[in-house]
């Protein structure tokens, strides 16, 4: 008999992280993500892990990356203002290929905005917030159970591809309480980063022989003794000004995500078989969309849902296929049209694209979505 527990989304995120093997959390208090820090403060020492409240958001991100460089799976969580502050070190982790999970429980912005109100206003920042060309993986949960299980997935992808993963929660799912069927030990896959069998005699840490895309390196302290730097670097991690290495290094980082899209991307398709209208939504917004589609279907409207679970990289192949079958796509998101841009880029002229968004800190209601779909 499986254990079922009533949990808050932020609490489920903590438990998911622990399930995935996360044993270090560094954070700074910020609404609406604070319960993740509070949960980790309680839970980490219970499982032999460590929690630290850092002096600011930048330091929290840095500490999480430091802990991971020494081999401990780590996480930090924040919301909009803190997400902005963490961007420089996020890029550092991309280039240095240090895995960690950064949770953003999105709230209404810009600036301090509406700290306790829901938003999905950080979706483009997730992709482009840190400077320079770089790939990113971002995952958006729609239920409390997904806050748990997809957090495990964030860690797995982070470890597998040696890259930071963004867990793009929002105030809706973060503060929601729902029943979660807790996975048993061994039920969910848990991936640990690959390491050389003999670190003391391992080759250059960043070498990717035979066209491999993910370097295999030992954590600090095991005898490989390499350099990590945010400068463009040679295979042994030493800074270089070589334009050729700069090109091949950044392209490899992009390719390691792009060429593994099918492994990284997950999504949900619902009621699309006969649909002439597809609503594209993700994260907490999907909850209103489910309800709206139920109402519309009861009225005989042929409406379905496409929900990217992996938002970055964007599931463009899948959406393109849908856009060839339906007459209309309606994008619903809690911002002024961010993923809308990505949908328009992918769909082109295949079908009509409409949008419903909100930036006033209230949720998009099912009625509003129903009304939007009924607009000709």
């Amino acid at each position: 008999m499986k254990q079922v527990k009533l949990m808050q989304g932020n609490e489920a995120c903590v438990e998911g992280a622990l399930y995935a093997g996360c044993r270090f959390y560094a954070g700074y208090p910020i609404t609406p993500s604070t319960e993740i820090a509070e949960g980790c403060a309680v839970r980490m020492p219970q499982v032999g892990g460590r929690f630290i409240q850092m002096e600011d958001e930048i330091a929290s991100c840095a500490a999480a990356i430091g802990a991971s460089a020494a081999g401990t799976k780590s996480m930090t969580a924040t919301s909009g203002p803190g997400f902005s502050l963490k961007q420089e070190n996020l890029g550092y982790a991309c280039l240095t290929e240090v895995p960690f999970v950064l949770v953003d429980v999105q709230r209404a912005g810009p600036s301090t905005g509406l700290p306790t109100s829901p938003s999905q206003g950080d979706m483009m920042q997730a992709k482009w917030g840190t400077h320079g060309d770089h790939p990113i993986i971002a995952i958006a949960p729609s239920t409390v159970e997904e806050c748990y299980k997809l957090c495990v997935r964030c860690f797995n992808l982070s470890e597998k591809y040696r890259t930071p993963v963004l867990f793009m929660m929002d105030e809706i799912v973060g503060h929601l309480r729902e029943s979660v069927e807790l996975p048993e030990d061994g039920e969910l896959e848990v991936i640990d980063r690959a390491a050389p069998a003999d670190p003391k005699n391992a080759g250059p840490a960043y070498a990717c022989p035979n066209g491999e895309l993910v370097p295999v390196m030992a954590p600090f302290g095991q005898g490989q003794r390499y350099n990590i730097t945010g400068l463009i670097h040679t295979d042994d991690g030493f800074p270089t000004n070589s334009n050729d290495i700069a090109d091949s290094q950044v392209r490899r980082l992009i390719r390691k995500i792009e060429e593994n899209r099918d492994d990284i991307i997950t999504y949900e398709e619902k009621d699309l078989e006969d649909a002439d209208t597809c609503i594209v939504c993700y994260g907490g917004t999907a909850r209103s969309v489910y309800s709206a589609v139920e109402t519309l279907r009861a009225e005989g409207k042929k409406v379905g849902i496409f929900r990217p679970i992996t938002v970055w990289p964007f599931p463009e192949k899948e959406l393109e296929a849908i856009s060839g079958k339906v007459k209309r796509i309606v994008v619903a998101e809690h911002n002024d049209g961010q993923i809308l841009l990505e949908v328009q880029r992918v769909v082109k002229d295949n079908c009509k694209v409409d949008f419903i968004g909100k930036i006033n800190g209230t949720v998009i209601t099912p009625d509003e979505i129903v009304a939007k779909v009924k607009e000709a």
Partner: protein, 271 residues
Amino acid sequence: MASKLIDKYFREAHLPHIWCPGCGHGVLMRDVAQAVENLGLDKDKVVLVSGIGCSSRAAGYMDFNTMHTTHGRALAFATGIKMAHPELEVIVIMGDGDASAIGGNHLIHAARRNIGITAIVFNNDIYGMTGGQYSPTTPYGEKGTTAPYGNIDRPFDIPKVAEAAGATYTARGTAYDARLTTKLIEEGIRHKGFSIIECASICPTYYGRKNKKGSAVDMYTWQKENSIPAAKAKDMTPEELEGKLVVGELSRSEFPELTEQYQKIIDKFQK
């Protein structure tokens, strides 16, 4: 002796270093290696973390687990490493702007927590990597490219800032006095808790030229002639100490080390 140190502690393939002729940083980097040698530390267990700037390039040359991080954040990265892995010996090398301007918040909080990290500040009183802008330690009245008419900010005394914030070991050495500086770094590493050793470096290229300090030799000579041992400085007035370098161990105090305290919390749950 130096060649043996290079064999054992440096990534020879990446030498010579990028620092300008006469720069004090190479001497100070050697002092760090000598201190590790004197203590007989296991290289595999030493983590050297640095920020951004001239000083930070030391990490790439030294044959430890090395992490060249982002500007000002070295102590924050190091805190994550030490907290998650207290068994590692974590040494941080920062510059003056790195440690006390952009990284000032991390400096005072690492000191406040008394985490077992050894912080070494290569202080050349200037932003060298970017070409000679004034820093928080540029003396009052001195010039930088962004203080063309003389610096009107009061400089920080970094060890004093750290002591006030809770550092349990503070010291100052100089690039001139390698023997003293090595000993201070050694003591800092041996010290349980947060230790900071400010090492007065020289920047003949920017600071020296801008302020007409003469050659590198002149600048080392100035360090030699203006260093006052801490014990002697105790009996001197602030006026007498104006413009001098007070060197040696500056303060020492007792407070439980952070990771040991946290281990006690973990132990409560291990039955």
